[in-house]
Amino acid sequence: MSQTRTIKVDTLARVEGEGSLYVRFSGSHVSEVKLRIPEPPRLFEGILEGRSYEELPDIVARICGICPIAHQMSAINAVEQAFGVAVHPSIRALRRLFYCGEWIESHALHIYLLHAPDYLGYEDAILLARDHKARVEAGLKLKKIGNDLMALLGGREIHPVSACVGGFYKVPTAADLRKMRGPLEEALDLAVETARFVAGFEIPDFEQPYEFVALRHQTEYAINDGRVVSSKGLDIAVDQYLDHFVERQVSHSHALHSSIRGRGSYLVGPLARFHLNFDRLPDSVRGLANELGMTPECCNPFKGIIIRALETVFACEECLRLIDEYEPPPAPRVEVHPRAAVGQGCTEAPRGLLYHRYELDENGIIRTARIIPPTAQSLKRMEEDLYFLVGKMAALPTPELTHRCEQAIRNYDPCISCATHYLQVTVERE
């Protein structure tokens, strides 16, 4: 008879939003895993009904303080698809630049303040900074440069005010953007240092046969557009999303769980993008990845921190390229003519695929809204990671195992506010 043990952590820390986790097992047999998300629902889909498409980017930003640009971009793509709006290539480039700022900020935040302490044996980044002050300061500097870019283009980094359907309220001059060149060159160096730093971490041995899902673009490392593809052969246009993915309400959570119709859970985010779009990364980033021993076959979620760092390197390089090639568009935004239609938009939030769908009337008023954030898509897969992790590492003493479970959740950089939700860890052995 295996010993019955209970591990309980009431509030999972170092995640965005709060929640709880419950695992019950006996020996290496896991009988139950529940990721509880009792964080208050904020009901955005209901709030959005009756609102105008013009207000939409401002309202959806408030779903999440960490990734407001991701929500703005998915929403804007959806409305532009509905109304048949085509934007100038310079607007498209500015949106990509804006979004890269959010990737840099969000990835640096997660790597340094939320995730690195797990690998180095510190309770938090405050204690980490006592022993590695220069390293944490470099991480904060990197984060700040991402924020500064967002503020330059959007007025402020949290809930920026510049993006609208058709373009931007105001666009920068080429000289405005060139001011960011110096800081971004510094950010690129900091990001490369970061990648080398995290690649030296001790990584638990744990691999999973994920089905990876991400956007894929013809030529670019996809951020703002592309087709939805998977490592098991899915290849669909964004407007076929709901034909292939289903959401289900589960009793223990205020987040809905997603799965691929007929198959089950899937993985979005850095690992998925790296796997599916490795060939779209510039030679420099692929070279660095090779040097650090990272290949697109990676299916160890504990290596996500290294991929986040590589994506940060990519984002910095991409910003520099976009700034060098920038020519202001003829107008900050094109004219928009509302019509009764349905539109869908998918973009790559820092945490993965973010889907928005709107049904609009002839005046541009939203009739129905549907939002499927990456963290909601990952919840089922997070529970499965815990199931296999606890099964594999059941011999570990309780405190270590609990820590591994928390770290495994942080691998996902869960944005619980996005998924509307609360996290708390309980591991029970029977």
């Binding site: 820390a13 009792p38 208050p40 209901g46 405050i126 904060l140 984060k143 007025g155 309400q249």
Partner: protein
């Protein structure tokens, strides 16, 4: 925020707790976004409860509690009383905590219908009919406005707390910031609807600087003349429905904004009938 808080002479580092209720995380992120000051701030205080940054938990009482988010569940309506008892000084951070936030739009709708739109079996969802600010439930020592709050104002409030003085947070209109910034008035010069004249300053007048009207992130200023602004918006061609939407955003449940949006909604109803 009184001077007799006793931090000055002693070596005792004030214990700070940061709580999150229904919100987007953006206001506590504002603290983490104060990158250059962050390690200094964290060094000057003892973090007693801040799950987003650390699993460390120190026992109450706390010298200062910062609350992000509004009250939307039975659990949080009870929990906030416990938080109040634990914190000598309690500060509400941001539009959710000071005004109910964007989720207070449910206060104008049938909650059941809203829940059914998001969840197939809404019975298992614990939600109150209304989203309400912290001060509706417990006494609050200071309310810092904004959606999101301003980083500079947050550092000012924390600095004031540490020094035992009153925070210096201006309560005038966005128009003041707009003039200081040298913006052209979008309302007068371009005829763009803007609620800056009735909205509290603090954001730095970024929307007018981007050529668009203020949409009220910092909530109503003191003695806001909403009636006069309303007349101006009507002259600019805004319908009653437009006006209702304009004031129903992130601070919709605060009285001056609520009053004008409810009046506009009644007006829109009469126009239709």
């Amino acid at each position: 925020m009184k001077s007799e808080n006793g931090h000055g002479p002693s070596n005792h580092k004030p214990k700070i707790a940061i709580f999150k209720l229904a919100s987007c995380d953006g206001c506590q992120l504002t603290l983490l976004d104060a990158e250059e000051a962050l390690l200094d701030v964290l060094g000057a205080v003892e973090i007693a409860w801040f799950p987003e940054a650390t699993p460390r938990v120190l026992k109450p009482p706390y010298d200062l509690g910062l609350v992000e988010g509004s009250i939307t569940t039975h659990h949080d309506a009870e929990y906030i009383h416990q938080v109040r008892k634990q914190c000598r000084v309690l500060i509400a951070l941001g539009a959710c905590a000071t005004a109910g936030g964007i989720q207070a739009l449910r206060n104008f709708k049938d909650l059941g219908a809203t829940l059914r739109k998001v969840y197939t079996t809404p019975g298992s969802i614990s939600a109150l009919k209304m989203s309400t600010p912290i001060a509706d439930h417990v006494p609050v020592d200071f309310e810092l406005r904004g959606c999101p709050i301003s980083k500079a104002q947050l550092l000012e409030v924390l600095g004031a707390f540490l020094a035992g003085r009153k925070p210096n947070i201006p309560t005038g209109a966005v128009c003041t910031d707009c003039k200081r910034r040298g913006n052209t008035c979008v309302l007068v010069a371009q005829g763009t609807p803007c609620i800056g004249p009735v909205t509290q300053a603090g954001c730095g007048a970024i929307c007018p600087a981007w050529g668009r009207g203020c949409y009220g992130c910092f909530g109503p200023m003191e003695s806001a003349n909403t009636a006069s602004l309303r007349d101006r918006l009507v002259e600019l061609g805004q319908s009653e429905a437009d006006i209702a939407r304009t004031f129903r955003r992130f601070n919709a449940w605060t009285w001056p904004f609520r009053e004008i949006s409810e009046k506009a909604e009644r007006g829109a109803g009469e126009t239709r009938s």
